[in-house]
């Protein structure tokens, strides 16, 4: 499991590499929260290109970060979501809370507009 960050103005792009489950959640959560505390982004975009597996523990982490960001008036988005992961998000209604974009470019443009 590996996490990459990219700061574009006040948009934090988080690229997660590997399975998101209860075991990897701790590290993902603390790493993202540290970056948020440091860079104080307005909005957040999760790039899910390298996530081949996620279960409901992952839903908890994504919603948790959404709450942090939206509490300060920011937006949260996801992009490059694999079909299997997308099905899980749909079952959990996540896409009603965190908008899903077909690619990173569109996601960035759309989130920055807000």
């Amino acid at each position: 499991m590996n996490i990459g960050f990219e700061n574009l103005d006040r948009l934090l792009v988080v690229k997660i590499d590997g399975d998101i489950d209860h075991h990897s959640c701790e590290a993902i959560r603390s790493s993202i929260d540290k970056e948020i505390a440091k860079k104080k982004p307005k909005s957040i975009l999760f790039d899910m290109e390298n996530v081949n597996f996620m279960d409901s523990s992952g839903i908890g982490v994504l919603i948790g970060r959404y709450k942090l960001i939206s509490g300060n008036g920011g937006k949260a988005g996801m992009t490059n979501v694999k079909p299997q992961v997308m099905r899980l998000c749909e079952i959990c209604g996540l896409q009603k809370i965190i908008k899903v974009y077909p690619n990173k470019k569109q996601a960035i443009a759309s989130i920055k507009e807000c």
Binding site: D55, S56, G60
Partner: protein
Amino acid sequence: MKIDNEMKLEFLSKSQNESFARSVVAAFVAQLDPTIEELAEVKTAVSEAVTNAIIHGYSHKTGNVVIIARIIGNTVEIEIRDFGEGIADIELARQPLYTSKPELERSGMGFTVMETFMDRVEIQSHQGEGTVIRMVKTMKTA
């Protein structure tokens, strides 16, 4: 109801065993030639039940988690058992969004995911004795 194949896996309730457990079940179910989607569904359901055993069943200690999987024709039966705290109110536990551990950022969607991805999910639990989740899924392929 002839059992064509059967396996039993026991492991410690450590979080690094979550990915191990779902890989084992996936490797066992592979003999049914499932689609990628079906395999992902089984893996996710197993991951939910195993995670629950670890964080809810054995919240403050380490115990054994047991998985039994049986193949009968095109169907897989999976049993996930812990000897932990047990569930006080099964009806409530099954509700979407209900979690007893919101402080851990649990989504409360574990049982809903299992029920959506598997054909049948049964919960048996006694407080102080532990929990058994039985899940069944028939592969559409083959």
